[in-house]
Point group: C2
Chain length 258, copies 2
């Protein structure tokens, strides 16, 4: 199978660099084809702006969504964007690897999402009617592909637990899992998270590699997080709220998991 690793750390001689090399080798030795988008090495442009189209509006005001749509439809996107979209089309699975900075992905990776997820490519698809609200959340151009986060965090695992001070890791990652990955159609696998990265000795590192290796070996077998498809009947349209009979006692992120 084809695996795209989108990698966002500025220093190759880091824990993240080691885990990236391990991941590529493990996947390759299992027979997968692997491409890496090393965003810092590529000097990836993080800020979405009018220059993302080869025909930026001269006088008209820049509209991030509509200008993205026009450039995508007319094949006039900045080449760096089009290349990443081609990699996504090629991939059967995508891994986003990053250090958790201020409880989310690094800016350079957020800018990859914003620029590569063009209108017409990752959103703005499908009909809006009484029974459907666009091809998203379980449907979309990336449906049938799998995605997984590989995340490192400086804090302790308990700090990210159900009653930990940072908030539960699953809730911190929900905007990425559900909002960035499930939205355009990915099946989202449980994340692989390494905690307390400042205290990793040889023994811990060996254990991390072993567990990560097992997750990579099972990349195409692991059950995805069972989010509810938007157009599958669980949500009222167009309010897009859960129907009263669906998990009636639940609110918040967890209500969107079967």
């Amino acid at each position: 199978m084809n695996v795209l690793l989108v990698y966002a750390h500025p220093e190759p001689r880091s824990l993240n660099g080691s885990l990236r090399d391990f991941t590529v080798q493990r996947l390759a030795s299992a027979g997968h084809a692997v491409q890496v988008s090393d965003l810092y090495a590529m000097n990836w442009k993080a800020a979405l702006d009018a220059q993302d189209s080869l025909d930026p509006p001269a006088e008209a005001r820049f509209n991030p969504s509509l200008d993205s749509k026009r450039a995508f439809e007319n094949d006039r996107q900045s080449p760096d964007i089009a290349r990443e979209q081609d990699k996504l089309r090629w991939a059967d699975a995508v891994i986003l690897q990053f250090p958790l900075w201020w409880f989310s992905m690094p800016a350079i990776l957020k800018g990859w999402v914003e620029r590569v997820y063009a209108h017409g490519f990752a959103y703005g698809l499908g009909e809006h009617s009484a029974s459907r609200w666009g091809d998203r959340y379980g449907e979309g151009s990336l449906a049938g592909k799998r995605a997984m986060l590989l995340v490192t965090a400086g804090g302790w695992e308990s700090h990210f637990g159900p009653r930990g001070i940072h908030g539960p890791i699953d809730d911190l990652l929900f905007p990425i899992h559900h909002g960035v990955l499930y939205y355009p159609g990915f099946d989202v696998l449980p994340p692989f998270v390494v905690y307390r990265t400042g205290r990793i000795d040889q023994d811990r590192y060996a254990g991390i590699r072993e567990k990560l290796g097992a997750r990579l070996d099972a990349l195409f077998d692991t059950a995805p997080i069972p989010y509810r498809p938007q157009n599958g009947g669980a949500y009222q349209i167009p309010e897009l709220t859960l129907r009263a009979d669906i998990a009636p006692e639940r609110i918040g992120f967890a209500a969107h998991i079967v």
Copy 2:
């Protein structure tokens, strides 16, 4: 009072541009001093890297946290970073204004946080002991200042409701409110959110301005979100989990609000 507006939208002739101008005028006419960091206009560098220090490591490997600390302590930070830190020192209140892109802040603003929040400035402060775990979450260099988000979103308000498909807006913003603002000491005010930005006519716009104006008039009177201070007794140290007798039935983000 002094107010810093950090603004992240690429097009001045946008809804965000109008709301920014309105905000600056309203605050100024109330007698406040206002500075604006217009990140796109400043061509703000989004990606944190070794060049953020005037003395980047030549041979040694780049460590985002430790290199940031060294540059901050030795007054060898990139001047764009030092300038923003000075603005934060000057400010009595900070407003972060941005369109919600993929359920978080735009990359350029995330990169402002990552680079301006140096080790020693916004984190890595205070003692770690049996009763304290650093000056953070209610304590820190920015304590005594207020912060508020001014956010625009394309989706409907119901889509961001307690059972809305995107997840509740308060939970989507928690990593910013609690993790980016409360962490270094800000008192965090309830956000001002504009929904369904694609459908704003003159009447709606007038109503939005009126409500925003009232929020700006009350900027220094509005009660902050009552997050629990880390070192105030509610958390076990060093696990940093809520003590068993504190809101015993609650988990997740909401448990950290009194």
